[in-house]
Point group: C2
Chain length 151, copies 2
DNA sequence: CTTGAAAAGAACTGCCT
DNA sequence: AGGCAGTTCTTTTCAAG
């Protein structure tokens, strides 16, 4: 499959900004017909560049108002495999992301809770009980901003 | 607006798992007609719980293979407003997320680059040049896992 | 690549229980 | 609320220039 050309990038910029646009509207924005736009979108999908749609759930509107980022260092002595840790952490409902990272920490977790009291419960009963837990560092999220990113 | 009931939660669980499903298919999964499902989805959208669809771009497939998380502490002396910092950091194309946090750092950034050499360029010329930059800590992402989260 | 069109499917509306 | 039926819009595919 050929790499995306400038027209493809223009299409990606449009759909990234407005995922609810029809192919005809995207075509109008980049100066292509509906059919041609569809063919390009189809190619981008098949190339794995457009990896599918997602529905953004507003967890705050559902009562989960607290988001905490945790940096986790596995205990040096503990002979816990990364797979075991990942399996255990993935079983905690409040954990929304598990990033395996290189640096001061081994994992970065994104955790949600209804409020601080709820977070304390999750932290004490679930997070601290994870196999191989070493150091933990926490950052409470105040606000977030998503940016379009490169392209 | 009334809070979501059990049926709403069932619908949210279904669409969260598969955002590409038609309202008719969602209805089948929860035992409702197409129209009833659509009306509930519409209500959830208007309540802000379903906050809109997004197209997932696979940046790796586009050649951005490196993701780095940065923890940033603003310099104590610098009299830089948070707004100034946020404006400047938001202007860097490679920055995909800016999270204002409480804890050891003031901000957590998610940055993408084509490769490590590209990241070094962004880091030296853009990140280190941000107004008010104090300490920085970096974590290179090895792998990530998104989880459904609570509900 | 374009236009035009047809068929299928999904989204939306109104009416009735 | 929920179901049914119908309308409208989009997607998807095709033929022809």
């Amino acid at each position: 499959m050929p790499d995306p050309d400038d027209t493809d990038l223009a299409i990606l910029r449009v759909v990234r900004a407005n995922a609810a646009l029809s192919t005809a509207a995207v075509g109008r924005a980049v100066g292509l017909s509906q059919a041609a736009t569809w063919r390009r979108l189809d190619r981008l999908r098949k190339a794995g560049i457009l990896a599918g749609r997602e529905l953004a759930l507003d967890l705050e509107a559902l009562g989960f108002g607290v988001t905490v980022f945790l940096g986790v260092k596995l205990a040096a002595k503990a002979r816990v495999s990364l797979e075991d840790f990942e399996r255990a952490v993935s079983a905690i409902p409040e954990v929304r992301r598990v990033d395996h990272v290189l640096g001061r920490y081994d994992y970065r977790l994104r955790v949600v809770a209804r409020d601080i009291a709820d977070f304390e419960r999750v932290f004490r009963r679930r997070i601290l009980a994870l196999p191989g837990m070493g150091e933990v560092e926490a950052n409470v999220m105040l606000s977030e901003r998503r940016l379009p990113g490169p392209l």
